[in-house]
């Protein structure tokens, strides 16, 4: 599976130009964090990958499919997209049915849909809640449930929009584990986030966007070292990088061990 975004421009019907020529190539197994200010075009770009939006110019292809030639419902089998607010999708009366909603729509057999849903709930730590009403979960659990609802679709590409918002330490750890598991399965994981510490801990590649364009695109450590560029996207470097900079160390460490190793002995 690979995604190709080729010089994509997009203008909303109202006339707002949200993307001004974005080109990216994404290979199977890559994990990429998209950062940048609200309105920089991150969500607009992600919506191009499953066909919710079709490019005004340029081309988006998911393997051999040009997104303009396929409906969202069809593209959903290849690209799973978790929206920011769980309340925008809840239709079923139990957590398990809610998670199975996508798999059933994609035409998975009932047995597969249920098995995939059970497995997805296990991953997000909600196995005990499968018979619970979604609205009887806490807001942070509802968010985890929506992650499960896309995991269960077993798509080769998974997109998360701000998955860590409102999560505590346990939730962060769970979501981190999910990302690692998806990476192990060689799926493409894309995330939109403001949580720079989370993105530096789990993502190999970072794309910073501003004003409908790609500002920087590169390995995480390289991007994190560019405090000047990050500042223009309303993002501060991760705590470890800031500490290293304040100590005058010549590295941009992404892990605690990395910083310790760089300390003068």
């Amino acid at each position: 599976m690979n995604l190709v975004i080729d010089d994509v421009g997009f203008t909303y019907p109202g006339g707002a130009e949200a993307l001004r020529g974005v080109s990216l190539r994404i290979q199977g197994g890559e994990s990429i964090a998209f950062i940048g200010e609200n309105g920089a075009g991150k969500t607009t770009l992600m919506k191009h990958l499953n066909g919710l939006l079709k490019p005004s110019r340029g081309r988006v292809t998911v393997d051999d499919w040009d997104t303009r030639e396929h409906t969202v419902a069809k593209l959903a089998a290849r690209v799973g997209f978790v929206f920011q607010n769980p309340d925008d999708q809840i239709v079923e009366r139990t957590v398990i049915d809610e998670v199975a909603f996508g798999p059933r729509r994609l035409g998975q057999s009932e047995t597969d849909a249920l098995a995939n849903s059970v497995a997805a709930l296990e991953i997000v730590g909600l196995s005990d809640e499968s018979r619970t009403h979604p609205y009887d979960l806490s807001a942070s659990q509802r968010k985890l449930m929506t992650l499960a609802s896309v995991l269960a679709m077993r798509t080769p590409v998974v997109i998360f929009d701000e998955p860590t918002m409102g999560q505590d330490a346990r939730g962060l750890k769970l979501i981190g584990d999910i990302v690692e598991e998806l990476k192990r399965e060689k799926r493409i994981v894309l995330i939109i986030t403001h949580d720079i510490d989370f993105c530096s801990a789990h993502f190999e590649r970072v794309v910073a966007m501003a004003d409908g364009r790609v500002l920087i695109d590169g390995p995480t450590a390289e991007v994190m070292a560019r405090a000047d560029l990050l500042a223009t996207t309303n993002v501060e470097p991760p705590q470890l990088v800031r500490l290293a900079q304040a100590l005058g160390l010549p590295v941009a460490p992404l892990t605690i061990d990395g910083l310790i190793a760089a300390l003068p002995r």
């Binding site: 109202g14 419902a73 959903a76 799973g80 607010n85 925008d88 999708q89 809840i90 239709v91």
Partner: protein, 265 residues
């Protein structure tokens, strides 16, 4: 997308500067004229003599005419076709193959179209030239309870938010493979996954919205002040009374015309 659900056009004409109640009285008079004037042509005459000059003064005439045209055209067409062609026992004046336009039906259609454009035209005049919050403040000062004006104003502002939310819900469900395009049955089936999150999600939010109101002392009894100020003049006050008197006179005349033949007979 506009910020509130209203076609108010913010310019600074003399019409705009009138006290909201003056405009409301004018609209009331227009409604009465539209509904109670006898004959076929009088409503067109009052439309030309009151609504058009007022709209011109307010700088909203082109917008008013185009909005009016869009609303009234389907009704007028339907009226002329249905009541013109199928008026039982009418006098045929124009033959169209097996069908014919009846004189009574045409008269009836002209009259009702006139009535309809008076009603719609006067609403549009009010909407285009009156800030909704000023109108509500004026009504509030004249005995309409605070709760009603709160409901009307906040509804006007949450509708655009709900429209956006409905679009997001649609996107979220399509991303999970929900098919929304196709035959009537497919589209009807797509309705519940759209309606339910919209309704449930907003009911869940009701708690917070109610608390936010209480925090701002909305539940406090007793008098209130208002930062918004309304400008009134003695001339406008007199004009309002005159318009009300005129409206009452027209109603009385209309009732007399309706009753007189019955009593004389």
């Amino acid at each position: 997308m506009s910020q509130s659900f209203s076609l108010y056009i913010p310019t600074n004409s003399g019409m705009h500067r009138l006290h909201p109640l003056t405009k409301l009285a004018l609209v009331f008079l227009c409604l009465v004229l539209g509904l109670f004037l006898p004959g076929v042509w009088l409503s067109y005459a009052t439309f030309a003599l009151i609504i058009i000059p007022s709209a011109l003064w307010g700088g909203v005439l082109p917008r008013l005419l185009s909005a009016l045209f869009k609303t009234a055209l389907p009704i007028a067409l339907s009226l002329f076709l249905i009541q013109g062609l199928f008026w039982p026992g009418g006098t045929p004046i124009l033959h169209l193959g097996p069908l014919s336009f009846k004189e009574e039906g045409l008269y009836f259609s002209i009259q009702r179209t006139g009535r309809f454009i008076m009603i719609i035209g006067s609403f549009l005049l009010l909407t285009f030239t009156t800030r909704p919050d000023e109108l509500m403040l004026a009504l509030n000062r004249h005995g309409i309870p605070n709760s009603i004006t709160y409901i009307i104003l906040s509804t006007m502002q949450i509708i655009p938010r709900f429209q956006a939310k409905a679009n997001t819900i649609l996107d979220a469900q399509r991303s999970r493979g929900l098919e929304t395009e196709g035959n009537v049955l497919v589209r009807i089936r797509a309705l519940l996954p759209l309606i339910q999150p919209l309704l449930l999600g907003s009911i869940v939010d009701i708690d917070e919205r109610a608390i936010a109101l209480e925090v701002r002392a909305f539940g406090r009894k007793g008098p209130r002040t208002s930062l918004l100020t309304l400008h009134d003049t003695p001339a406008q006050r007199i004009a309002r009374w005159l318009m009300l008197l005129a409206a009452v006179a027209v109603i009385a005349w209309g009732i007399y015309l309706w009753l007189a033949p019955r009593f004389i007979a």
